[in-house]
C-alpha cells in the first residue's frame, strides 16, 4: 500500500510538471531584425516570431531592432547570433563575415522572391526609361535591393545614367519609405519612382492605390526576398534547429505574447519560409557589382 501511494505521488507530480512550460536554459540567442519601417513596427511584427523561436529552441531569445545602415557593423561586433534582413544585406554579410544562409521569407505573388519596378503615373507622358532624361525621380532607401539597387541597375542596363541624366533624384526620410516613394509619384511630387513590386502589390491589395493609377516602365528580374542568416560562430545544430522551426511554421501556428494568443506568420506579415541556395543570390551579386554597391563598392 505504501509503495502504491509513493508511485501515485510520483505519477501525479510528473503529470502536473509535464503541463508546465519547459524552462529556458542557456545564454540568450540574439536576433538582429532589420527595421523595415520603424522600430515600433519591427518589434510588433517580430515579437510573436521571437516568442515562437524561444519556445521551439528552449532558450531565451532576444529581438533587437537594427537600422539597416548599422546592421553590418553591429553584426561584425558580435552583437547578433542570427540576423533578419534584406537579400543585399545577406550578400554583404556573407561576403564580408561568412554569414550562413538559414531561410528566406515568402510573401506575395513571387513567394521567396521580389522585384524592383520603375513607375510613373498612368497619365504621365513618360513612356520609356529614355524619357526620364531631365525628370525628377524618387528612390527607396539605398540599401534596399528592390527599392533602389534593382531600379538603378535597370536604368544603367538601358544605357541611362541616373546620376547624370535625371534632373534630380531624392531619397525619402523617416519611416514607411517605400510607401512615400509610391505616394510621391501618385501626388505628382516626382515624375517617376523606384517602387518594390511587393509594396505595389500590397498597397493595391489593401486598396491604398489602384492598379490603374500607375504604369510600370520597367521591372527587374526577381531576386530573393528578406532572409534569415546565422553567424558562423553559432553551433550548426542550433542553426539547423532554428531553420526547422522556421520551416515548420504554418498559418495556423500561434504563440502567446503578453496574454494574447497571436498567429505568428500573420503578425510578421510573412506567408512562410523557404530554403534557397546561396547561388540563388547571384543576381544580387551581379546587380551590386554593376551598380557599384557594397560589398563590391570601389571608389
Amino acid at each position: 500500500m505504501k509503495y502504491l501511494l509513493l508511485m501515485l505521488t510520483f505519477l501525479l507530480t510528473g503529470a502536473v510538471l509535464s503541463g508546465c512550460e519547459q524552462p529556458l536554459e542557456g545564454p540568450p540567442i540574439r536576433i538582429g531584425y532589420m527595421n523595415c519601417n520603424s522600430v515600433k513596427e519591427t518589434m510588433e511584427r517580430f515579437q510573436p516570431l521571437t516568442a515562437y523561436l524561444q519556445q521551439q529552441l528552449g532558450r531565451p531569445v532576444e529581438a533587437i531592432p537594427v537600422d539597416t545602415q548599422d546592421l553590418e557593423s553591429r553584426f561584425a561586433a558580435g552583437e547578433f547570433d542570427f540576423v533578419h534582413g534584406n537579400s543585399l544585406l545577406y550578400v554583404i554579410l556573407k561576403e564580408n563575415h561568412d554569414l550562413q544562409l538559414v531561410a528566406t521569407e515568402k510573401r506575395g505573388q513571387f513567394g521567396s522572391r521580389t522585384a524592383g519596378a520603375i513607375i510613373v503615373r498612368r497619365d504621365s507622358p513618360i513612356k520609356s526609361l529614355k524619357d526620364l532624361k531631365g525628370k525628377r525621380m524618387i528612390f527607396g532607401p539605398q540599401l534596399a535591393p528592390s527599392g533602389y539597387m534593382a531600379q538603378y541597375d535597370l536604368m544603367l542596363q538601358a544605357g541611362f545614367d541616373p546620376d547624370r541624366e535625371l534632373d534630380y533624384y531624392a531619397l525619402p526620410r523617416g519611416t514607411f519609405k517605400h510607401e512615400k516613394v509610391i505616394y510621391g509619384v501618385y501626388f505628382g511630387a516626382f515624375d517617376a519612382a523606384a517602387a518594390p513590386a511587393l509594396d505595389l502589390e500590397i498597397m493595391t491589395r489593401e486598396g491604398k492605390i489602384s492598379a490603374d493609377d500607375f504604369r510600370v516602365l520597367a521591372q527587374s528580374e526577381t531576386i530573393p526576398y528578406c532572409t534569415f542568416g546565422a553567424s558562423k560562430n553559432v553551433d550548426s545544430k542550433l542553426t539547423e534547429k532554428f531553420r526547422k522551426a522556421l520551416l515548420d511554421l504554418t498559418p495556423e501556428t500561434t504563440v502567446e505574447v503578453d496574454g494574447q494568443r497571436l498567429k505568428v506568420l500573420d503578425a510578421a506579415w510573412i506567408d512562410g519560409f523557404e530554403t534557397l541556395l546561396d547561388k540563388d543570390y547571384d543576381p544580387i551579386r551581379v546587380m551590386a557589382k554593376r551598380v557599384n554597391m557594397p560589398p563590391y563598392q570601389e571608389f
Binding site: 515568402k106 505573388q109 513571387f110 513567394g111 521567396s112 522572391r113 522585384a115 519596378a117 513590386a197 505595389l200 502589390e201 493595391t204 491589395r205 486598396g207 489602384s210 492598379a211 490603374d212 500607375f214 504604369r215 510600370v216 521591372q219 528580374e221 526577381t222 520551416l247 512562410g272 523557404e274 530554403t275 541556395l277
Partner: protein, 180 residues
C-alpha cells in the same frame, strides 16, 4: 367470399386501381422521347452555364487580359491583386496569375497558381470545354516541371520545392486524364 354486391364492387374497384397502377408504372419510365428531351435540356443548361461563365470572365478579366497581351505583365498582376478584393477565391484569378507568372519566367509560382486554378475549376483541363486552357497548362508542365524537379534534386530537403513538384505532377496527371 364475394357474398354481396358491395364486396363485388369493392373487389372490382381494387382490380381497376391495381391495373391502373401497373399501367402508370410501366408508362412512367423515360421513353425515347423523354430521354432525348432531358438530355437536350441538360446540354442546354450546360451551354447556358458556360455562356454565363465566359461572359463573367470577359466582364471582369478583359482589362487584365488586355494588359497581359500588350506585355504589361506587372500591371496585369496588380490588376489581379485588385480583383482579389472583390472576387476572393475566384479560380480565374489563379489561372491568369499562373499564366502571367509563366510569361515572366517564374515557373515555380506559375505551377502553384495553375494547380490551384485547376483544383478550383476542372473545366480548364477539359478539352471539350470552352473554358479549356490546356495549351497553357501543357506549356507550364513541359517547361516548368523539369526545372523544379532539378531543383528538388539539388535541394532534397526543401519542402516548398517538393510542394511545387507535387503541383506540377498534379497538373500533368489532370492533363493526362483518368482511365478510358
Amino acid at each position: 367470399m364475394l357474398r354481396d354486391r358491395f364486396d363485388q364492387l369493392m373487389m372490382a374497384s381494387l382490380v381497376v386501381v391495381l391495373l391502373f397502377m401497373v399501367v402508370v408504372m410501366v408508362g412512367a419510365g423515360p421513353d425515347e422521347y423523354n430521354r432525348e428531351n432531358s438530355a437536350i435540356s441538360r446540354h442546354l443548361e450546360r451551354e447556358r452555364l458556360y455562356k454565363a461563365r465566359v461572359a463573367f470572365i470577359e466582364r471582369h478579366f478583359s482589362p487584365v487580359i488586355a494588359l497581359r497581351d500588350s506585355g504589361a505583365l506587372p500591371e496585369a498582376l496588380l490588376k489581379l491583386e485588385e480583383l482579389q478584393r472583390t472576387l476572393p477565391g475566384e479560380a480565374h484569378i489563379d489561372l491568369l496569375s499562373g499564366d502571367i507568372l509563366l510569361r515572366m519566367g517564374q515557373f515555380d509560382r506559375a505551377l502553384t497558381k495553375l494547380a490551384a486554378a485547376v483544383r478550383r475549376n476542372a473545366d480548364y483541363v477539359d478539352a471539350a470545354s470552352p473554358l479549356s486552357q490546356r495549351p497553357l497548362l501543357e506549356s507550364a508542365v513541359t517547361e516548368g516541371l523539369p526545372l523544379v524537379r532539378d531543383r528538388l534534386r539539388s535541394q532534397p530537403d526543401s519542402r516548398s520545392v517538393a510542394q511545387v513538384v507535387k503541383d506540377g505532377y498534379y497538373l500533368q496527371s489532370r492533363l493526362a486524364g483518368g482511365c478510358e
